[in-house]
């Protein structure tokens, strides 16, 4: 795994010496900040209304008001959706640029295994995403400072996000290996992830029923995240994301193996 470490370091350097990582992180944090503001405002507003209502009724205020459920669960869910838009931007360069510059030829003629190269790039992009998530820790910390908060659902929320991100990034890396055009790689990744997300909308209509409905529910890449956001770790959901990750990386190995120029 010596080569993986080297590639990881180089790619991480490339992320942070080009504007891409900063652009993606800034976008993510702006959007998340916006959602946090909206959710928190709504929370305090409802809280105030409830206090007033209790006072008028002469009843003791009901403190069973849950910030986990009202702020962080929807916030995590939004993070998953936003990531769907941003992950393709992080992965589109990874192999497409090598294909375009021709450096892939040097990389693959070095005494390294294809999978080592792929893992290095994958882990570098996952690290960027992890750093990005780490910066969102201010939201639960801020919330916990104001009201009581459960740690469990936050932990599962982040674990779920990392699993989800792995799947997104692996799909992106696969498309990036197919082309020398970064835009094409990004667009195909986005289209695929979007399709996997929109399956969820189909499930809520009458158009699909029975076996197909339950199958589509199982395959929806965002619906799979709901349990994590809610604080539940479901083995099936974890395996789903790991399977997509493994599939994406495995297909990339095959692409690199059969490179035909």
């Amino acid at each position: 795994m010596r080569a993986t470490w080297q590639i990881f370091r180089r790619e991480l350097g490339a992320f942070f010496t080009s504007p891409m990582a900063y652009v993606v992180m800034t976008l993510f944090l702006i959007i998340m900040g916006f959602f946090f503001f909206v959710l928190t405002s709504r929370f305090t507003q409802s809280f105030g209304e409830m206090m007033m209502w209790a006072q008028m009724q002469g009843m003791p205020p009901d403190f069973n008001f849950n910030a986990n459920e009202m702020i962080l669960e929807p916030l995590f869910y939004q993070a998953a959706v936003v990531l769907l838009f941003l992950a393709p931007m992080l992965t589109m360069r990874l192999f497409a640029e090598e294909n375009q510059l021709g450096t892939v030829e040097l990389l693959l003629t070095c005494p390294v295994r294809d999978i080592e190269v792929i893992l290095g790039k994958f882990l570098a992009s996952l690290t960027v995403v992890a750093v990005m998530f780490a910066l969102t820790l201010v939201y639960p910390i801020f919330t916990a400072y104001q009201t009581s908060l459960e740690i469990g659902p936050i932990l599962t929320g982040y674990i779920g996000l990392l699993l989800l991100a792995s799947a997104f990034l692996a799909v992106g890396i696969f498309y990036s290996s197919l082309t020398e055009n970064q835009i094409v790689a990004g667009a195909l990744t986005f289209a695929t992830l979007l399709a996997l997300w929109l399956i969820a909308a189909l499930v809520q209509t009458d158009a699909v029923t029975g076996g197909l409905q339950s199958f589509l529910t199982e395959t929806s890449i965002i619906l799979r995240y709901e349990d994590f956001a809610r604080g539940v770790i479901n083995l099936g959901d974890g395996l789903y994301y790991l399977t997509i990750t493994a599939l994406g990386l495995f297909l990339t190995v095959n692409v690199l193996d059969s490179k035909v120029h």
Binding site: R2, L101, T103, V104, E105, L108, C110, P111, K259, H261
Partner: protein, 318 residues
């Protein structure tokens, strides 16, 4: 060191390389010569493990490229066509990265990179971004990464293409210096270049090797005897008749271009190795022709190539 037997690479119906066989001994410097699309790059890509072959086998240092490519790749330094490099890295960081990928131990890496930069005269650009380097320096960086792990085998695809004449000479010197003890295969479409660096030349055409010779012997064999250029003042028809009538001349060709003053020019092929020029000069002067130029014509790659292709065509017909 390198054993290629019945190697074939097909892209669908098209054979980029078809059934080639050759072997390269340790320490040999071989030039792969041919026009664009002849299969040079494909052959090199198979030898470096980048492309799988469709048929036949390639062994490098005893390792089968189809099965033991990883072991073979440890021994090869490769510079692909157009010298692909990471433009956003500095030279020194790039070379350290490549050295690490090629398995140079961490302790020896800095020294290996220094050595590679020194032997390619790239030390003075060590801290610069590759993006900002001239083509000549990029080429040196490409060579530096090829030798950074001190490989036994060097495979260089068109190492001087796109350089200006001074840079070409510099790179040629670098390659000659780097070649000592190493087995080198380099490709080019300039015969002159190959004959200067390489001791042996293989010519490829349409995916086949149509000649494999010591560098010096190639033009001799292909010329089938002496070729002479002549420019003479006088009646063109009469001179041509005189030449055609000469018993030792096999073939006369009137060239389209004329010497200054409208004097006709001829290319003459003698049917033998012996020097025809003194004899020819006497005959022309004796006939009252003013000889303006008389000299031996050396074949260019283009002519060698055309001859080879023609010879092969004749052989196929026969």
């Amino acid at each position: 060191m390198i054993e290629v037997s019945h190697l074939t690479k097909r892209y669908g119906e098209i054979a980029a390389v078809s059934d080639i066989s050759f072997s390269v001994k340790k320490g040999e410097i071989v030039g792969l010569l041919g026009p664009n699309g002849a299969g040079k790059s494909t052959t090199m890509r198979i030898l470096t493990g980048f492309l799988p072959a469709t048929g036949g086998s390639a062994r490098v240092a005893g390792f089968d490229m189809a099965k033991q490519s990883l072991q073979a790749r440890r021994l090869i330094g490769y510079m692909p066509e157009n010298t692909p490099l990471y433009l956003n890295m500095t030279v020194i960081k790039y070379l350290r990265f490549m050295a690490a990928l090629k398995g140079v131990p961490a302790r020896e890496r800095a020294a290996a990179v220094d050595r590679a930069m020194e032997s390619t005269a790239a030390t003075d650009v060590a801290g610069r971004l590759i993006r900002n380097l001239s083509k000549g320096y990029r080429q040196r960086v490409g060579l530096a990464q090829a030798i950074v792990a001190d490989p036994q085998i060097l495979i260089l695809d068109e190492p001087t293409i796109g350089l200006d004449p001074t840079q070409i000479i510099e790179i040629r010197h670098l390659i000659s210096a780097m070649a000592n003890e190493r087995t080198v295969i380099l490709s080019s479409h300039i015969l002159h270049e190959v004959s200067e660096i390489c001791e042996r030349v293989m010519i490829m055409h349409r995916g086949e090797i149509i000649a494999d010779e010591r560098t010096g012997e190639l033009s001799k064999r292909l010329q089938h005897g002496q070729t002479i250029d002549l420019a003479a003042r006088g009646d063109a028809g009469a001179i041509e008749k005189l030449l055609r009538g000469h018993p030792r001349i096999k073939k006369v060709q009137r060239l389209k271009s004329e010497a200054p003053g409208g004097a006709p020019r001829f290319r003459i092929e003698a049917g033998e190795e012996a020097d025809l020029m003194p004899d020819l000069a006497r005959a022309l002067v004796g006939a009252g022709v003013d000889v303006l130029h008389l000299g031996e014509h050396r074949l260019s790659l283009e002519e060698i190539f055309i001859n080879l292709v023609r010879d092969q065509g004749e052989r196929e017909v026969a």
